[in-house]
Amino acid sequence: MPRLRPSLFWRARREISPMAAKLLPACRDLESAANELRWIREYVRDTKSPIPDELRVWQLAEKRGRGIPLQYVLGTQPFGDIEIKCRPGVLIPRPETEAYTLHLASLLSQSSPPPTSLSILDLCTGTGCIPLLLLHSLLIPLRAPTPIFLHGVDISPAAIRLARANLTHNTPALNRFPHASSSSCPYNLTFSQFDIFSPSLITHLQHFLNPQIHTPTPTGTGTGTQDQNTEPPTKIPDLLVSNPPYISPRDFNSATARAVRNHEPRLALVPQQQEGLSPIHRYRHDRYNCRPEDVFYARILEIASVLKPKRVLVEVGGWEQALRVVRLVLENSTAATSRNNDGGHKSQEEYNLVEVWRDEPSAGDKGERVEVAGREVVVQGEGRGRAVYLSRV
C-alpha cells in the first residue's frame, strides 16, 4: 500500500479536523475520512456514556485510525433496512451481499403463484445478516400472511451467538409488520452450530424442514416467534443460500485489504487448508475434485442434490470463480443424469435456470450471455461476478 503524502494529512487537519487526520491512514482519502468522522460523531451523539463526547470521538477515531474496521469500532453495519451488530471474530456483512439478498427477496415475493409458505436455509450464516434481511424484506410485500421458516448454520460458536443476538436486536423491527405478530403468519428464524461438511448436517436440515416426522413435538427448534399450531415448513426448501469462505490462501495474502486480513476471521474467508484438517476432514475435502477455494461450493451442491431446493444462490469471489461454480453445477447434473439414466429422474436433478449475477443484480438482464460446458448461461446485472443462481422453478 503506497504511503500517503504528508500534504494530505495537512489538508485533512485544515479542511476537516485534526480528528480526520487521525482517520486518514485507514480511510486513505479526504472524502471518506470526512464521512467516517461524521458517522463516528453521529454514533457518539446517539449513544449514552459517562465519558465526555469529544473524548469518545477521539478514542473511536484513534481505534479506527489504527486500521480496525469501522463496523467493529461502532459495533454495527446497516444492511438493507436493518442494522446488523458486528463483533470482532465474525465477518462484517458486505454491500454486495446486501444487494443480492434484496434482489432475492424481491424474486421470492414476486414469484407466481404467490408462495403460501416459505422455507429458507442459509449455510455459513455468520452474523445471520442474510436470513434476517430476507425475512425483513419478505414481511413487507407478502400480501397474504405467509409463514416463513428460516434456518442458519455456522461452524463458529461466536457467529451463532452473534446471529442470535442479531435476531433479538431486530425483533422489534420485524414485529412492526402487522401480520408478523399475527398468529396466522408466524416467522421462525433459528440458528445452529454445524460444520457443513459434517455427514449429519443433511439429517439436521431435513429435520428442520419437516420436524413432525422426526419428533412428535416440534418444540425447541430455537429462538424466534413461534406458533406451535402452524403447519411445519415444507419438505422442499424454497431457497438454499450461502456466502461461504471463497478466498484462496494466495489471494488472502495478496488480494485482500489490510483491514480484512488483520481484523476479520480467516475461518470466514479462506476454506480451511488441508494441513489444518483432521484426517477425516481431509478425506472429505479430497473427495471433491476441485480447487481448494471452491470446496465449499462442491459441498453445497452436494447438499442441494439431496434437499432439492427450488432455488440456490451462492456468493462467489469474482467472474472466474463464478464460471468454475457454474461448471461444477453442470458437471454435477450430468453426472447425476447418467446415474439416473435408468430411473428417469433426470429432470429432478437439473436446474432449468443457471445464472451468474453481477454485483448489482437488480440492474437486470442486459442481454449478456456466457457459454459454459456447452450451455448458454444468462448473466444478470452490473459489476463484478458476484453470485451463481440456480432455479428449478
Binding site: 453495519q77 446497516p78 454491500p95 471463497y246 469474482g318
Partner: protein, 428 residues
C-alpha cells in the same frame, strides 16, 4: 359526431384536398377500401400491444401499463370497427355474385350503408391514430383581447367573452373569471350594453377543455354597423382569442407524495434511471470491508445526476437520492412547461396579427351569419351563436373535424415518407 350530416356537408369542401379522402372515395366505388398500408400497419401493431397489455394487466396491475393501455384502446376499438366493416363489405360483394336475384337485390340495398360504414370507420381509425395533443386533457384559459382600432373591437371582445361564458354554462363546464378589465375609455357601452373590454381571461376548469376550445384560437372578425355610426356604414374589426392550457398551481395537486402516479411531475420511470454504487476497486466482496454506501442515480433521458453518501446505510442513501432526483425532475418539468406555455403564447401572438387573411371566423350581423373560414361552415342564426347556443357548438364541432383532418393529413404524409425511406433502404 362525425357522422352528423351537417358536418359532412359543410366539411366536404375543406376535405376535398385531404389525401385520406381520396382513399375513401375510391373505397366507396368498386375498388376495395384501403388506408395507407403504413397506417394500417401501425394500427395493427398498437392493437397487438394493447391486447398484450390488457392480458398482463389482468394478472397484475401496474399503473403505467394501465395508462398506456388506456391511451391506445381507442385505436384498438377503431381497428376492430374497421375490420368488421371491411369483412361485411367483402361478404356483400360475394352476395352480389349470387345466382339468386333476390339475394343480389338485398345485397345491393345494403351496399351503400356498408360503404358509408367503411368510410366512417376508416376515418375514425385515422383520427384515433393521430397523436393526442399533449395538453388535450387539461383545463384551459381563454384570453380575449381586442385588435387595434376603435371601441367597436372592444365592444365585440366583450361580446365574445360573454359568448364563451354562456356556452360553458350551457354545456355545464365550470368557469372562473381570472381577469375582466375595461379599457379606461369614457365608460360608454355598446348597443347591447357591452363594455369596452381591454382584456379578459376566462378559465374553463373542465378537464379536456383545452381540446374542446383549442380551435377557437385566432382572429375573430366582426362586421356590423356600430351604434355610433350615423351613416349606417358597416365596420370591420377584429378580436384575438388565445387558448392556453391551464396548469394546476404549484403545490396544490402536485406534490412529492404523488410520485407513484404516472401523471405526477414527480413520477419517474425506474427503467429510465441508472443506479450506480461507488464500490471499491479490486475484487470487492469478502476482499474488502470499507463502508461503501455512496450511491449515484442518473436520469437517462435528461442526464440529471444526483449522488448521496451521507448515511452509512446504502438503502438510506438510495432513498434520499431518489427523493432528490424526483424533486429535481419535477422542477425541470415545471419549468419546461412554463416555457412551452410562454412560447405558445408568443407564437399565437405572432401569427395572428390582425390581418384580414388570418381571420378564422367572421360574425356578419347584417346577414345574420357566422362563417368559419377553416371548416367552411356557414351558420345562420347569429344571435344563437352569440348566446353560446347549439349553433356555436356546431361551428366548434366543424372546426374539430377540420383539425382532426389536418392531423390525419400530417400523419399520413409522415407515414408515407417514412415508408418510402424504409423501402429505399431495403432496396439498397
Amino acid at each position: 359526431m362525425l357522422a352528423a350530416p351537417w358536418v359532412c356537408r359543410s366539411c366536404a369542401r375543406s376535405l376535398r384536398h385531404a389525401s385520406i379522402f381520396q382513399f375513401v372515395r375510391r373505397a366507396s366505388t368498386e375498388t376495395p377500401v384501403r388506408l395507407p398500408p403504413a397506417l394500417l400497419e401501425r394500427a395493427r401493431r398498437l392493437t397487438a400491444e394493447h391486447d398484450q397489455l390488457t392480458s398482463t394487466l389482468e394478472k397484475d396491475f401496474d399503473a403505467k401499463k394501465a395508462k398506456r393501455a388506456g391511451e391506445i384502446s381507442r385505436i384498438a376499438d377503431a381497428l376492430r370497427q374497421f375490420e368488421k366493416a371491411k369483412a361485411a363489405l367483402s361478404e356483400l360483394h360475394g352476395l352480389l355474385e349470387s345466382d339468386d336475384a333476390e339475394m343480389r337485390e338485398l345485397a345491393r340495398d345494403d351496399l351503400e350503408a356498408t360503404n358509408a360504414q367503411l368510410v366512417e370507420s376508416s376515418h375514425n381509425l385515422s383520427a384515433a391514430l393521430t397523436p393526442k395533443h399533449p395538453f388535450a386533457d387539461m383545463p384551459c384559459l381563454l384570453e380575449i383581447r381586442p385588435g387595434p382600432g376603435g371601441t367597436e373591437g372592444r365592444f365585440f371582445a366583450d361580446t365574445l367573452f360573454h359568448m364563451y361564458k354562456a356556452y360553458c354554462s350551457n354545456k355545464g363546464y365550470r368557469t372562473r373569471v381570472v381577469q375582466y378589465e375595461a379599457s379606461d375609455s369614457d365608460g360608454q357601452t355598446g348597443s347591447e350594453g357591452e363594455i369596452a373590454l381591454q382584456e379578459a381571461v376566462l378559465e374553463v376548469q373542465e378537464p379536456g377543455a383545452y381540446a374542446i376550445f383549442r380551435g377557437e384560437a385566432g382572429m375573430h372578425r366582426v362586421q356590423r354597423v356600430p351604434a355610433t355610426e350615423a351613416k349606417g356604414r358597416t365596420h370591420t374589426s377584429a378580436v384575438a382569442v388565445w387558448v392556453l392550457p391551464s396548469f394546476p398551481e404549484n403545490g396544490t395537486s402536485e406534490s412529492e407524495a404523488d410520485w407513484e402516479n404516472p401523471e405526477s411531475d414527480f413520477y419517474i420511470d425506474p427503467t429510465e434511471v441508472r443506479s450506480e454504487t461507488m464500490r471499491a476497486r479490486g475484487a470487492g466482496g469478502q476482499h474488502v470491508n470499507k463502508t461503501e454506501s455512496a450511491i449515484r442515480l442518473t436520469h437517462i433521458p435528461t442526464g440529471t445526476t444526483v449522488s448521496m453518501q451521507d448515511s452509512r446505510s446504502q438503502q438510506r442513501n438510495r432513498e434520499y437520492a431518489w427523493r432528490l432526483l424526483r424533486s429535481r425532475i419535477a422542477q425541470q418539468r415545471r419549468e419546461a412547461r412554463e416555457e412551452m406555455a410562454r412560447q405558445m403564447r408568443s407564437s399565437v401572438l405572432a401569427n395572428s396579427q390582425i390581418t384580414r387573411g388570418d381571420k378564422i371566423r367572421t360574425y356578419q350581423y347584417q346577414q345574420d351569419r357566422c362563417t368559419d373560414h377553416r371548416s367552411g361552415l356557414d351558420a345562420h342564426n347569429l344571435p344563437d351563436v352569440l348566446r353560446g347556443g347549439e349553433t356555436l357548438g356546431k361551428i366548434m364541432d366543424s372546426v374539430q373535424t377540420w383539425l382532426i383532418n389536418k392531423d390525419i393529413e400530417a400523419l399520413i404524409s409522415e407515414e408515407e415518407a417514412s415508408a418510402a425511406v424504409a423501402s429505399r433502404e431495403k432496396g439498397k
